[in-house]
Symmetry: C2
Subunit: 196 residues, 2 copies
């Protein structure tokens, strides 16, 4: 997605440890117009999947997901990273290991909003090792619904998550795939070469 790649090149910052900081339009400040374009792009890429629910993870997944929800005309559910006061019972939970922080986090959704027969589109801001996506898939599987696809804003193609999810047979659509961040420079994978 060219507008996204342009934005990453112009406003992204590469930090030590292969961290791409996109706080100026995605993870802290949000560019709502870009989010709308991203949401519409996801809706188009999954238009034949009869999506009935979008599932994402707080907080950075929410903006692109709500825009996809508008475009697909379906509700959006965001998984919580910790249990909240009004959501202590009635939960599906999954463990997500963070390689960056070397910790296990629990993510959860209520049992009320995704059910057997739902076709769920999973959306997240970043894909690196794929642990968050796997956690979201496990949540969907517990509900009895179908995980019909995964939409990612930025995939770190040099980490193993994308390959792992594609090998499992999921339709994974990443709007920008970064092949490396060497020497502080962002190099994108060419379009149509997502299986690389």
């Amino acid at each position: 997605m060219e507008t996204l790649k342009k934005k990453i090149l112009e406003h992204g910052t590469v930090l030590p440890g292969n961290v791409l900081k996109v706080d100026s339009f995605l993870n802290h400040q949000i560019d709502p117009v870009l989010m709308k374009e991203i949401g519409e792009e996801f809706a188009e890429r999954f238009q034949d999947k009869k999506i009935t629910k979008v599932l994402t993870l707080e907080s950075s997944g929410i903006a692109p997901s709500v825009m996809a929800g508008i475009a697909l005309d379906v509700p959006v559910i965001f998984a919580h990273k910790r249990k909240s006061l009004t959501l202590v019972d009635n939960l599906y939970t999954a463990e997500v290991y963070s390689y960056t922080k070397e910790t296990n986090n629990e993510i959860s959704i209520s049992k009320d909003y995704i059910h057997e027969g739902d076709n769920v589109l999973i959306i997240d801001d970043f894909l690196a090792n794929g642990q968050a996506a796997l956690g979201l898939i496990r949540l969907v599987e517990q509900t009895g619904a179908n995980p019909k696809g995964i939409g990612i804003v930025i995939e770190k193609g040099f980490q193993k998550g994308g390959e792992m999810l594609r090998e499992k047979g999921f339709q994974l659509e990443s709007l920008a795939i970064i092949d490396n961040l060497e020497e502080g420079k962002v190099s994108f994978r060419e379009e149509g070469n997502s299986s690389q």
Copy 2:
């Protein structure tokens, strides 16, 4: 805002301790169409304030804020509730006391996105004692920008936050004001009577 009040009556649940649970369209599952209407309503109510930035708090403030950002054509910043890995320096911070949880939480924004001269619209999902709104105001004040107004989706009118913020002279626009939740029933304040 009638569509919001109707949604609260149809899908809100009153829990013990004056808790109104609106997880089915705002705090966990999100109704994107309603969020769009809410964002447009905020944009209209603050249309003469020359808003240049929307500031909210993760996670439930993000969806209505992004929709307001689209309608106002300005960026949205969401304050973090904890420090994140890529945001350790360069922060403005404020303490927010939670009466519900009886804890102090730190909220923070980067120094990069709100500056002197910005006209900031603060948006949040709920207003009860006003501590989160005060924390967001303190963040804006540290930047040197102007807090031009506060947009709230649901105000608990029987708690003191609304009165306190109106007395301080802020333009506070709450799209639904609840006067009480007695006997598990939601009673709204009548429109045009926000100073009650």
